[in-house]
C-alpha cells in the first residue's frame, strides 16, 4: 500500500469572508463554519479564536488537537467510519495543512483535559505551541450527560478539520513524501537481509474520555488487529480524548504517529517495517489477558524479529504494557517499550505501576509529576478555572495573578508515549 502525503505549509491563519488557502495562509470564514457546526442540535454555541506561536496565550481546557487533511486520490475519505463512509484508506494521495491545527476547548467534560501555552516555559513541553491553531470554544446545550458532551465536542473538532482540509484539495503541495508498505511476502523477497519490525500501538479504551475509535469502532470492543501504517495518516484512528493530558494521544498524534514516521525513515535501509498491530487497554483483566495474548500471537504469526510497543496513559495500562512486552519477548521477539513516568514530584518514587525483568529496553517520555510554574498569560481561551480540577492540577493551582502551579500532567502532549517529544528522564 502506497500513500503520498502532500504538505501545504501553513504560516498563518486569518479570519476572512471567504475560506481558502492563499500564499500559504489559511483564511477562515467563521460564519460558514459556525453554521455547519451548529447543525448539531446539542451544540449551543461555538466561538473561534486563533492562537499563534509566541503569543501570550493559554488554551484551557484542551480536549483534542486535530490536523486538517483531505483525500485527493485513493479510496475513502479522512476519518473513515466517523465522518467519511467506511472504506479502506491509506493509499493514493492526501493533502495536509502542515503547521496548522484545530484545537477544541469549552466547558470541562472531565479531569483529563489539558493546557496549551503558546509561549513561556509551558510552550516548551507541548508540540502544539509551535502550530497555528484555530481554537473552537464549544459549549453544549444544558442537561447533556458527560458521554454525549464529549461526543459533541469531538465531532465539532473533526468536522472543522475536514472543512479546512477540503480547502487544500486542489492545491499543489509544497512538498510530497511517499510511504509504501509492501505485502509480507514482497517485503521478505525485497529485503531478505533486513530485520523485520512491527509496531504495537496500544490504544486507550477505558470509557469516558479514555476511548479511541478505529474506523469508527470503539476500540474497547475490538480484538487486537492490524493496520497498514498509512491508514493512520488518513485518520483511521481518532482520539476520544483520554487519560491525563500529558500522555493522551490526540488525533493529531495519531495522524502524525512518530514511531510510524521513524520506522519508515529506516525502512528498506536498516529494517523492514512490516505493519502496525493495534491493541486496546481495557478495564477487565480478562480483556487485558486476551488482548495481550492476541498481540503476541500476531507478532509470532508475522514472524518479525523485533517490535516497538507504545503505551497510552498510565496506571493500570502499565499492566497491559508489561503483558504485551513479556508475552512478545517470550516468543523470542525483541521489544522496546515507550512509556512515561509517575515518579512523584521529587522524582524519588516508583515510576510504573507494573514491572517485569523482560522489559529491559525502555524509552521514557519523562516524569509527569514534575511541578511546573506557568506564568500568567495575556489571553485565556476557554475556562481558566479548570486548572484546579484537571489531572495534575490541585486546589490552588490557579493563582490570583493567573499563573498556574501544577504537575507537568496538565500540559497537552508533554510526556507523550508515542515518543513525539524530546523530553525524557533519568
Amino acid at each position: 500500500m502506497k500513500l503520498e502525503i502532500g504538505q501545504i505549509f501553513i504560516r498563518d491563519i486569518q479570519f476572512d469572508a471567504v475560506s481558502r488557502i492563499e500564499n500559504n495562509i489559511l483564511y477562515v470564514n467563521t460564519q460558514e463554519l459556525k453554521a455547519l457546526l451548529l447543525e448539531d442540535e446539542h451544540l449551543a454555541s461555538v466561538d473561534f479564536e486563533i492562537a499563534k506561536p509566541g503569543e501570550k496565550t493559554r488554551i484551557i481546557p484542551v480536549k483534542d488537537v486535530i490536523e486538517p487533511r483531505v483525500k485527493v486520490e485513493g479510496g475513502g475519505g479522512i476519518f473513515p467510519g466517523v465522518l467519511a463512509k467506511v472504506e479502506a484508506v491509506g493509499s493514493g494521495r492526501t493533502n495536509v495543512l502542515k503547521g496548522a491545527a484545530v484545537v477544541t476547548t469549552g466547558r470541562i467534560v472531565g479531569f483529563q483535559e489539558g493546557i496549551i501555552d503558546m509561549s513561556g516555559p509551558g510552550a516548551d513541553y507541548t508540540p502544539f505551541s509551535k502550530l497555528n491553531n484555530l481554537v473552537l470554544i464549544c459549549e453544549t446545550v444544558d442537561g447533556l450527560k458527560q458521554h454525549a458532551h464529549e461526543k459533541v465536542v469531538r465531532f465539532a473538532g473533526l468536522k472543522t478539520a475536514a472543512y479546512l482540509g477540503r480547502l487544500a484539495k486542489e492545491l499543489v503541495a509544497d512538498e510530497v513524501k511517499t510511504y509504501e508498505t509492501p505485502s509480507v511476502k514482497e517485503g521478505m523477497l525485497k529485503y531478505p537481509d533486513l530485520p523485520r519490525v512491527a509496531y504495537v500501538l496500544m490504544l486507550q479504551s477505558q470509557g469516558l474520555l479514555h476511548d479511541t475509535y478505529v474506523y469508527g469502532v470503539d476500540m474497547k470492543q475490538s480484538l487486537t488487529t492490524m493496520l497498514y501504517p498509512t491508514e493512520l495518516m488518513d485518520g483511521a484512528i481518532i482520539s476520544g480524548n483520554c487519560v491525563s493530558a500529558c500522555d493522551k494521544n490526540t488525533t493529531y498524534h495519531h495522524l502524525n504517529n512518530p514511531v510510524v514516521e521513524d520506522l519508515f525513515a529506516k525502512h528498506g535501509t536498516e529494517l523492514n517495517f512490516v505493519g502496525v498491530i493495534i491493541t486496546n487497554e481495557n478495564v477487565y483483566l480478562a480483556d487485558k489477558e486476551r488482548s495481550s495474548d492476541w498481540t503476541a500471537k500476531l507478532v509470532e504469526l508475522l514472524g518479525v524479529d523485533g517490535v516497538v510497543i507504545s503505551q497510552e496513559g498510565f496506571g493500570n495500562p502499565d499492566t497491559d504494557l508489561i503483558m504485551n512486552c513479556k508475552k512478545i519477548e517470550a516468543k523470542g521477539v525483541k521489544t522496546v517499550i515507550i512509556t512515561d513516568e509517575y515518579a512523584g514530584r521529587d522524582g524519588a518514587s516508583q515510576s510504573l505501576a507494573d514491572a517485569d525483568a523482560s522489559a529491559d529496553a525502555v524509552v521514557t517520555g519523562g516524569n509527569a509529576n514534575m511541578v511546573i510554574e506557568l506564568p500568567p498569560m495575556e489571553r485565556i481561551i476557554g475556562h481558566k478555572e479548570a486548572a484546579d480540577v484537571i489531572a495534575g492540577g490541585f486546589d490552588g493551582s490557579l493563582k490570583e495573578d493567573g499563573s498556574i502551579v501544577a504537575e507537568l500532567q496538565v500540559i497537552t502532549g508533554a510526556t507523550n508515549e508515542l515518543g513525539f517529544n524530546k523530553l525524557s528522564a533519568r
Binding site: 477505558q206 477487565y284 507494573d354
Partner: protein
C-alpha cells in the same frame, strides 16, 4: 498502600481488577474484581443481580481474611 497497612500489622484483602498490579505491588490476599470503573458492581445487570455479585465478592474477601496464607494468594471467584 496495601503493603503498608499489612506492615502495620493488619491482615488486608485487596479487591481489585488488575491482579497483576496487585501482585507486583505486593498484596498478599487478593480477590479479583469485576472491572476498573466498577470493581464491585456491573451496571449492565439489574440492581438485585449487581448486589448479589457484590455480596459474593465481599464473602470471598471475608474468606480470604479468614484463611492463613504464607505467600501471595489470589482467591478466585468460583
Amino acid at each position: 498502600m496495601v503493603k503498608e497497612i499489612e506492615r502495620a500489622g493488619l491482615p488486608v484483602v485487596h479487591i481489585c481488577t488488575v491482579v497483576p498490579i496487585s501482585l507486583t505491588v505486593g498484596a498478599n490476599r487478593i480477590v479479583p474484581a469485576v472491572a476498573i470503573p466498577h470493581p464491585l458492581g456491573n451496571p449492565s445487570l439489574t440492581p438485585a443481580e449487581e448486589k448479589e455479585i457484590r455480596s459474593k465478592l465481599v464473602d470471598k474477601a471475608l474468606i480470604a481474611l479468614s484463611t492463613e496464607v504464607t505467600d501471595q494468594t489470589v482467591f478466585e471467584m468460583s
